[in-house]
């Protein structure tokens, strides 16, 4: 093998690191996520210009700017629609989507189900810190009931969203969870997610050191962490995965919760198929008006 010249030099994590210095608070969990993404991308080996990395708005949504990929730090909650447009327009690209719990499950919550049921080949990474970081500490949809924040002086009265259970119910083809408290595991599930054909979702419990309470921090996480392998979970069983997902907020399961053993064709693949088939029927663009002639 070693004598055969490789087409491209192998890429390393540092090739995905941009010159922009992250403006996250010192110790923010998102630094770990960023490292894990560098590693995963190096593992995949696609050059940065073939990657489109889309995000919404939030501390976490700044992440594309810290990579050398084409980035689109769009508007709050709309990363998934934009990413779907990119992938359908250029299916040859590797399309990553990332953002916060608020971005993804509050304002952007309406888009998740549809991205998933379309099964477009995207990887969606949510940095779930149970708080609104960028706007300085308001309740997020994943904030636990009772949490006191600047918008819940007397404690939150609402049950949190369960991202894992939701995406399983939406029929996601690949669902995993990780935390920067386990960097190797996190890089691994992200790489698996990218490799998986179809919509893949990774929930990352990425602590906000500035606004999230003590029990969300890395130290407390260690007490709640459990690998899915250690509980003998069968990651091809969606209903079992839903059962485990119900413990979201208590146990912090890491690893692959669900992976479709026989992935359905992706929408981008189906679209390409349709395009190829119908191309035969196309009249030239400049003669498109012929169809209106009264013959």
């Amino acid at each position: 093998m070693s004598s055969i010249p490789v087409e491209r030099p192998a890429l390393q994590a540092k090739d995905f690191k941009s010159d922009l210095k992250p403006i996250w608070c010192p110790g923010c969990g998102d630094f770990g996520v960023l490292q894990a993404i560098y590693r995963a991308l190096a593992g995949i080996g696609r050059p940065p210009h073939e990657i489109a990395f889309v995000s919404g708005i939030g501390c976490s949504s700044r992440i594309p700017g810290y990579t050398t990929a084409y980035g689109f730090n769009s508007v709050h909650g709309r990363a998934l629609p934009i990413a779907q447009g990119i992938k359908l327009a250029r299916p040859e690209l590797l399309v990553l989507v990332a953002g916060g719990d608020g971005d993804g499950f509050s304002i952007g919550g309406g888009h998740v189900a549809h991205a998933i049921r379309r099964n477009i080949d995207l990887t969606y990474i949510v940095m779930d810190n149970q708080i609104y970081g960028l706007t300085k500490g308001q309740l997020s949809p994943t904030s636990p009931r009772g949490l006191k924040t600047v918008t819940s002086e007397y404690g939150s009265l609402e049950a949190p969203v369960n991202p894992l259970l939701y995406v399983l119910a939406y029929g996601a083809s690949f669902v995993a969870q990780g935390t920067p408290a386990d960097m190797a595991g996190l890089a691994d599930v992200i790489e698996q997610a990218i490799r998986h054909p179809g919509f893949s979702f990774v929930n990352v419990q990425s602590p906000c050191v500035t606004f999230a309470p003590e029990d969300q921090q890395v130290k407390a996480q260690r007490g709640r962490m459990k690998t899915l392998a250690s509980v003998g979970h069968d990651s091809t069983n969606r209903l079992a995965a839903m059962g485990l997902a119900q413990t979201y907020g208590e146990v912090l399961y890491t690893g692959v919760l669900y992976k479709d053993p026989a992935p359905q064709p992706t929408l981008d693949a189906l679209v390409r198929e349709r395009q190829a088939k119908l191309a035969l029927e196309a009249v030239p663009r400049e003669r498109i008006l012929d169809m209106f002639l009264q013959k």
């Binding site: 050059p47 210009h49 594309p64 447009g85 327009a89 679209v271 349709r274 191309a279 400049e286 209106f292």
Partner: protein
Amino acid sequence: MNDLIIGMAGSGGDGVVSAGESLIAAAAYEGYHAMMTKSFGSQVRGGESSCRVRLSTSRVHNPGGALDVAVALNWDDFLRFGAELPVSGDTVVIYESKTGVAPDALPLIGVTPHEVFAIPIADMAKQATGSDKAKTTIVLGLIAGWFDIARESILRGLKKKFARKGEKLVEANEKAFALGEAYAKEHPLKKPRAMERPVGRDGAKMLTDGNDMCAAASIFAGCEFFGGYPITPSTEIMQFHTRELWKYGGAVLQAEDEIAGIGAALGASFAGRKAMTATSGPGMALKTEIMGLATIAELPLVIVDVQRGGPSTGLPTKAEQSDLYMAAFSAHGDVLRPVLAPTSVADTFDVTVQAFNLAEQFQTPVIMLSDQEIAQRKETVDPIDTSAFTVETRKLPSAAELEQYSRFRMTADGVSPVSHPGMPGGNYQGAGIEHNEAGNPTASGRVHHAMNEKRFRKLAPLQARRDLFHIEGDPNAPLAMIAWGSIAGVCREALDLAKAKALNVKLLVPWLLYPIAEDVYRDFFAGVKAGLVVELSFQGQLYHLLRMYVDVPSCVTSFCRSGANPIQPREVVAKLLQASLALQHPINPIATEA
């Protein structure tokens, strides 16, 4: 006779719209100019429906006013359409005699039609075909008989239409048609009204509506992506694309809402493809935020707003021109975004192509304001020479520029070459946050002002685009009209009527509504003694928009009304006449009779 307006109404099952379609298709095939509008009751199915078909040997600019022929398969249904089917003293009324109404006691208030025929249409249909389903074929026979129009082509159309349902049905309908025709011959009109023959040859005209024209034009212009969500009266644009766009390697996303629709389209544009979305008022409202993102991210995008009555859900099936303010101003921050409007089915082609070209050339969202009238009416269109159109594409960075790529580089014309994912060396961060030339976030007021200046400056060439404006009539006339969108057709007809009354009038029709091309209007206003800005909206939005940038002479006023009750050419002429009289300068004394 060279102009004929037929209106028909019946219940959902009666098929008056289908009959109208047969008639206009036949007329178009023979080379008539024609236009057809349809209207439905509020029930989704089984309610009343109506159509108006106007045929002419010369160009038709609007659906017209009072009917020459009114067909009531049922008086209740007919009356529900009120002002949409106006009967005058010149109208020939045809109705189903079985409704029991006496010809001298029609339920028409304040008007006696020229001539009335109570005809046992259902019975005749039964006689010819064994069922009363062919009622409208009888009506087509009557019309062909009386007006000597498109006989062969109607029969040819009926044959095509019923062919796949079997030879028997074809024959039955031919029989029904013949029965209607025979009735007409046996009962000649008091005042014979045979239509003149059109010029032109069979099959040379196109027939379509504004929505299909827009979608087809977008494919011509290179559109490769459509993202949208259904909404009346724009849905047919998406429907067209779900049939056609794949054939050109494009893709369509029927999104979960309008935000996702425009989001996906913007994504496709970021990825280097020409992209569009289409919607109506409520959907436009939802797209506001991402339109702003497209502006600051400097990405091409075509947004079609097929206007209906507003505010809110408003009048979903009626045309209005009340989204102009929204199109020009709906975004936070300082935004300059071109707004275009077609004025007919035919020029929907030109304007759609312009929209894509401007979007690509200036890396900007462009809004095309169509309206329900243009979008959903059928119109004959003369052949369009597509080779006369250029198709623009965005300026890509050169190899040298990619060496040290700066996405938002300050250039002389404000347009910076734009890369897209997949292009090595072009890697950059697109963003809605203010950025420097490299694309990195900034909070600097200086950079922000410079970037605003760049985003405005790059659109300056639009000021000189006189090809996006049309002046009709005598360019030195003292009386003036300005009209945009479907109402431009009304004013074109008014121009002809005014000329017939010896009023000296000119008409300015802008395709480009915003930014205001100041010199075009200043030049147009020179020498004007009185003028109208004619609009189908409560406020007269273009009139006020003009005032923002141009000193509109006080003799030019706004003439406007809310939608669903369109301004008629004769009303415009009456206003012009009034204005001319008020100038103490009676151009033609007989005009006072109007």
